[in-house]
Structures are given as C-alpha cells and as structure tokens.
C-alpha cells in the first residue's frame, strides 16, 4: 500500500468510525484515499444472508434433544466395522501362519516324513498325523491318529498326542499305535514316557506298553529291533481278531464281511505279510479254523469252518 503515514491514519480512523469533520474533508481532497474509502463503504453495505434465529434455535433444540447415543453409536459402528476387518485379516494371517501340516496316509500305503529337526517318522497305512511346522523347534508336538514309528533326533521335549494318551521322549526310537480303543507304544532306543490319564509309565529299550481292556497300561517286552510293520510284516501278540482284521483292511485296502458264526473276540498270535493277500488271509484263517471267500475284487467274507 503506497499510502503515507497520515493517509493510513485517516483511513484507520474512518474504518474505526472515529473520523471527524476535518478528517472527512481531508479524505475528500485525496483521490487515492477516497477510492479505498469508497470500496470500504460499498463493502459495509453488503449484508450477510439473514439468519433466522428462532428457526435455528428450534432446529438446534430438536437435534440437541435427540438421544446422544444415536450419534455415538454411529461412530462406534464405524470403529466396529474396521475392527472386524482387522480381526478378520489377523485371523486369516494367523490361520495361514499356524495352520498345522497334516499328513494322511491312505489304506494300503506307507509314508515316511522328515520333520524340521531331522527326526524321521514312518507312518503306517490308514493313519493321520499333524504338527506345527513354523514353531517346530520350540515345541515338538505331534498329533497322531493311527500308527507311526518315530526316530527322534536329540533336542528338547518331543511329544506325541493321541486320543488315548501321550508319549514323551527326549531322543529315541519308538512306535506308537492308536486305533480306536487300541493304544500301544514300543520303545526301541532311549527312554519314553507314556501317559494315559494320570498314569505314567517309563519305557526302556525293548519294552512296550499296551492299554488293556480295563483301562490300565500293561508293560511287556519286545524282541524286534524295529516294528514289524516297518519291514512289511504285521505282527500280533495275543490280539483280538477284530484288531487283526482291521490291520488287514488297512494294509490291503480290503472290505471284510464277517459271518455271525465267527467270534471277533478270539485271540490271534502271529503275523501276516504285505504283498500277498491270499497268503495273508491263509495265515490268519488257518490257525483260527476260518474259511474265506472272495465275493468281489476287494471284498472278502469270513465264516467259521463247520
């Protein structure tokens, strides 16, 4: 602004409504100053749009008296919405991070896996095994449904969980077999703790433990250096026919119908081999005085000899 001090003072006085007669006379004699005053004057004739005070107050009271929660809930809903999305994302991430590795072995097959710590697991037919890959070295925990033979490398606690009991070791070789009501652990090396309910039994090499029908763990001995099944033989020590036939079904992917004349509780001691179904059937049937008959490719009916 090119005005000098006096001009500015005049302008200020006029704008503050403090100008007297002589000031106004001076302004009128100054064309530049007069322009500013004229603009100012024109601006002061502008009016802001009318504000309907009473109406505005009514509207305010109406809005004020609405329950406040309506407004707050709305914002909370937004928060919840984002929270839900966040939780879902975290959930998905967590799901993929901690999703257990699951290995299922079908009938008539076997599978061998190597765990992240180089422990080896040989899984028998018709078994399912799951474990957490990403946290393996901190927590060596395996869920097992079925039968598997473990060669555990040295390290921290190694636990096998089954629905009938847990097996805990440090570094060893052992076999776990859990099928329906059957629960059997054989120790081949090192020390193995087997728990069922509150009962805990420590196995040393050459010992095995089996869950008896009255629900207690029974200790006995084994001779073999590794489970029979790992060498292609299924071995039984005084087992019920039911258990023997179940194993036969798994190893040969077979359907077996049993005639009512056959008692499934009768005991069987012996073994059968994989790879020759006829021979396997004979090995089981002959000592028990049973006969078998194929009614389809993979379907057999058993009945008692007359």
């Amino acid at each position: 602004m090119n005005l000098n001090f006096t001009q500015k003072e005049l302008l200020n006085r006029w704008l503050n409504a403090e100008a007297d007669e002589s000031d106004i006379a001076a302004i009128k004699n100054d064309p530049e100053l007069l322009e500013y005053i004229q603009i100012s004057q024109a601006a002061s004739h502008l009016a802001t749009p009318e504000y309907e005070l009473e109406k505005a107050y009514e509207k305010l009271i109406a809005k004020r008296n609405q329950p406040q929660k309506v407004y707050k809930l709305f914002t909370f809903q937004k928060v919840y919405r984002y929270a839900a999305i966040l939780i879902a994302l975290v959930g998905v991430y967590y799901f993929f991070q901690t999703r257990p590795s699951v290995i299922e072995v079908a009938y008539a097959q076997q599978s061998e896996i190597v765990l992240p710590d180089a422990s080896e697991v040989l899984i028998n037919a018709g078994s399912k095994l799951s474990y957490q890959k990403n946290n393996w070295n901190k927590k060596r925990l395996i869920h097992l449904e079925g039968e598997a033979y473990f060669k555990v490398s040295k390290g921290g606690k190694f636990t096998v969980q089954t629905s009938l009991g847990n097996v805990q070791v440090v570094g060893t070789q052992f076999n776990v077999n859990q099928r329906e009501n059957l629960f059997e652990v054989e120790c081949y090396q090192g020390k193995v703790d087997v728990s069922h309910g509150r009962e805990i039994i420590r196995l040393t090499p050459g010992k095995c433990v089996k869950l008896s029908t009255d629900g207690t763990l029974v200790l006995s001995s084994i001779v073999a250096k590794a489970p029979f099944w790992t060498t292609g033989v299924s071995n039984f020590e005084n087992e019920s026919l039911q258990i023997v036939l179940d194993e036969l079904k798994r190893q040969y992917n077979l359907q077996i119908d049993v005639d009512s004349t056959v008692s499934l509780d009768q005991r069987f001691t012996g073994s059968f081999k994989r790879g020759n179904l006829d021979l396997a059937l004979k090995t089981i049937c002959l000592p028990l005085k049973l006969t078998y008959r194929f009614i389809a490719d993979k379907k057999v009916v058993l009945h008692a000899e007359n």
Binding site: I39, A42, A43, S44, H45
Partner: protein, 174 residues
C-alpha cells in the same frame, strides 16, 4: 456479552441462559465462520454443532467462558469440514446504515459492481477477508478484531489495508 454478576459463575445448563447465549452469539459466530470459509450452509451447521457441544459440556463451561468455547469449537469444526472448499460469498444489500459519519456520498448500487466486489472479496486470503468483513459488516473496531482473532492491532491494520489494496486492484477504476 452482558455480565450479570450472578450469571458469571453459573454454568450454561439452564435453558433460559442457553437460549440467551444462542441469541447473542449464534449470528456472530455464523458470520465469522462464513467470512472465514465462505460457505453459508456449512457455517450454520457448524454453529449448531458448536452449540450442541456446549450443551453436552454445559456443566463444565461457566457462563463467562461460553463465548470463547463456542468460537474455538466452531473454528475447529470448520477447519475439519469447510476448509479447502471454494469460497463462495453471497451478500444481500444492507438497508440500515451502520456508520453515521461516512460522509463520502457514495452509494454503489449497481448489481454489476456488487458482483465484482463479492468475487473480489471471495478471492482475498482468509485472514484478510475475515478481518476486513468483521470491520465492514460486523462493524467491529481494530481493537475488537485483534482481541477476537488473538493478534495485534497492528496486524489487523495490515490485513485490512492489504485487503483494500487487493480489492482496489481487482475492481479497478470505479
């Protein structure tokens, strides 16, 4: 704001008091926000919001603090909402004269000039426009504006002078 001694310590939860505050301040705040951001509808919404906030916190705000409380809330709300929108001022014609001693016989009443003036005012900076219009339309003196905007009187003077200079350039020869 008139200050009746008993009312100074009173909080504003009482409806009669609340309404009197509204009657006194609502138009001023509305105009202030309007001058600042140039959006009438939003300015009125902001006034409403500010008064609702005042009611929600009425027990905490004594009568004497209500004015600055309302201005602060309104300014903050409009910073969130109105800022960055295009300034669009629209004025009516004031029938009553505010200044009795404004002698220069000058009434520029052509629509064309008014539109030009409105547009030029809209193009002023926010600080210039607010100070200028508080002086011209609300009739506030430099001291009052300075207090209101919490700046020095010198700064008010500068803003208004600059505003006038810009307007003169934009409008050109009258």
């Amino acid at each position: 704001m008139q200050s009746n001694p008993t009312e100074i310590t009173q909080n504003v939860c009482e409806d009669r008091l609340y309404q009197s505050i509204f009657n006194q301040l609502a138009p001023k705040i509305r105009n202030y926000i309007y001058f600042k951001f140039g959006n009438l509808e939003k300015a009125e919404d902001v006034v409403q919001e500010a008064f609702i906030k005042l009611w929600e916190n009425c027990s905490k705000v004594p009568y004497g603090k209500a004015k600055s409380y309302l201005y602060t809330i309104a300014t903050n709300l409009s910073l969130n909402e109105v800022a960055h929108q295009k300034v669009k001022l629209k004025f009516g014609n004031q029938s009553t004269k505010k200044h009795t001693n404004e002698s220069p016989e000058f009434i520029l009443e052509t629509e064309e000039f008014k539109t030009k003036l409105e547009n030029s005012i809209a193009n002023l900076s926010e600080a210039q426009r607010t100070a200028f219009l508080l002086n011209r339309i609300e009739g506030m003196k430099y001291v009052e504006i300075a207090e209101h905007l919490q700046i020095s009187v010198k700064a008010v003077e500068k803003r208004i002078h600059n505003a006038l200079m810009v307007l003169r350039e934009e409008i050109g020869n009258i």
